[in-house]
């Protein structure tokens, strides 16, 4: 599927948002590897259980987004949630109740290949214990149509570290791949220092980037910052997703992160994204629409 076709298609359905096309896999044309084109949907930072002025419709936003994603005329191959599935609570029973309800809601997705990553709201207070009960491992790999996906966990350690053990696991996994293989990294927090003063970073993320740097075709999709954002570390692209709960302030120089901006539905601050993979990546933002 060509990205322009998909963009036109989404316009016809009336839900197209901004489309961002990047030179995703700069070395892909030289690759001898045969890989099919496909697309998947990224959903991030649903924060199920949150209540507050930043989103007066918090109880229904996720359900509306699911209806929208189910309405895509071309079903994605799979869907990935990049963390903060639930809003944090210190009550372990309530945490599990939120995860249970979240899982019930997303079971309405008509795509059944769904992958989950944890965010700090899900996993930092109990080192991922409840998350693992409901969603399985916090870091793992899978392969899809010639692309190697690596899900990294930079939240189960409350200090926002990947940790030496996971880094060693990552290094061992990468050694099994050629330097021109197509690799997609999924994670919650930015691996790079986006705004260290706002804690928008991963304490040892630079070590992961160092391990990835020899590989020519790497792209990272993450969440955490509740807004679309694109950044390059060398040839590696990092794309942040919008949330489904409330937007955060844009990255800036303020010593402290400003509070979330006032809720304004007309700005379409929330949404999911369709990611079309071929020689390039085409990211199409999909706003939440009325169910």
């Amino acid at each position: 599927m060509k990205s322009v076709d998909r963009r036109d298609f989404l316009k016809l359905t009336g839900i197209a948002g901004v489309t961002f096309t990047a030179g995703l896999f700069p070395g892909h044309q030289a690759s001898a590897q045969a890989a099919g084109d496909f697309h998947f949907v990224q959903i991030s930072d649903t924060h199920w259980g949150f209540k507050g002025a930043p989103n007066p419709d918090a109880e229904h936003t996720l359900e509306k987004a699911i209806v929208t994603v189910n309405g895509l005329a071309q079903k994605p191959d799979f869907i990935v949630f990049t963390g903060d599935l639930t809003h944090t609570t210190e009550d372990g029973s309530e945490r599990r109740a939120r995860m249970k309800r979240f899982k019930e809601i997303v079971s309405e997705l008509n795509v059944k290949d769904v992958r989950f990553l944890a965010g700090e709201h899900d996993a930092s207070l109990d080192k991922g214990e409840a998350f693992k009960e409901f969603f399985g491992a916090t870091h793992y790999t899978f392969d899809h149509k010639g692309v190697h996906f690596i899900a990294l966990d930079n939240v189960s350690d409350p200090g926002a570290k990947l940790g030496d053990e996971q880094l060693a696991w990552l290094a061992a996994d990468l050694k099994q791949h050629k330097t021109d293989d197509r690799i997609v990294v999924l994670t919650h927090r930015p691996l790079f220092d986006l705004v260290p003063n706002w804690d928008w970073t991963t304490a040892d993320g630079a070590k992961a980037i160092d391990l990835l740097m020899p590989y020519q075709n790497v792209v990272v999709f993450y969440g955490h910052i509740h807004q679309e954002h694109h950044h390059m570390t060398g040839h590696i692209a990092h794309h942040a997703a919008k949330s489904l709960i409330f937007p955060q302030a844009a990255p800036g120089d303020a010593p402290r992160r400003p509070p979330p901006p006032p809720y304004d539905a007309s700005l379409k601050p929330l949404g999911t994204r369709d990611i079309a993979m071929s020689k390039t990546v085409t990211i199409t933002e999909i706003p939440v629409t009325k169910a």
Partner: protein, 117 residues
């Protein structure tokens, strides 16, 4: 010790808005207490070029204390006093914050170091 007590008293004074201002001395110390979800005092004022030691404690759980502008990062363990000594070499407002996720309000566990010329 007397100076530390004096600063602690200042920190509780509403007349200065919770800010602590240090006079020029050879040894300056400021007590900072962490809890869910704040640092007290929230604003600490120091002078450029003068060494200051922050005596950081926690009253409830492990927090982090991170101040990227001066390369500071440490855990704060309840029952212990963590000493952080810096000599600010630049004027401005610099964030310090908890970088160990501590719950719903973690983002508010933060403060500002004001370095004056």
């Amino acid at each position: 010790m007397n100076r530390r007590l004096f600063i602690a008293l200042l920190a509780g004074s509403s007349a200065i808005g919770g800010a602590v201002r240090l006079a020029a001395q050879s040894k300056n110390e400021v007590e900072i207490m962490a809890m869910k979800f704040s640092f007290t005092p929230e604003t600490v004022k120091v002078k450029r070029g003068e060494q200051v030691t922050l005596l950081v404690t926690s009253i409830d759980r492990i927090h982090g204390f991170k101040m990227p502008a001066f390369g500071v990062r440490t855990d704060i363990v309840p029952g212990e006093t963590t000493r952080v000594t810096i000599t600010p070499d630049k004027v401005g407002q610099f964030a310090f914050f908890c970088d160990v996720f501590c719950g719903d309000g973690h983002e508010d566990t933060a403060g500002t170091l004001v370095v004056e010329g």
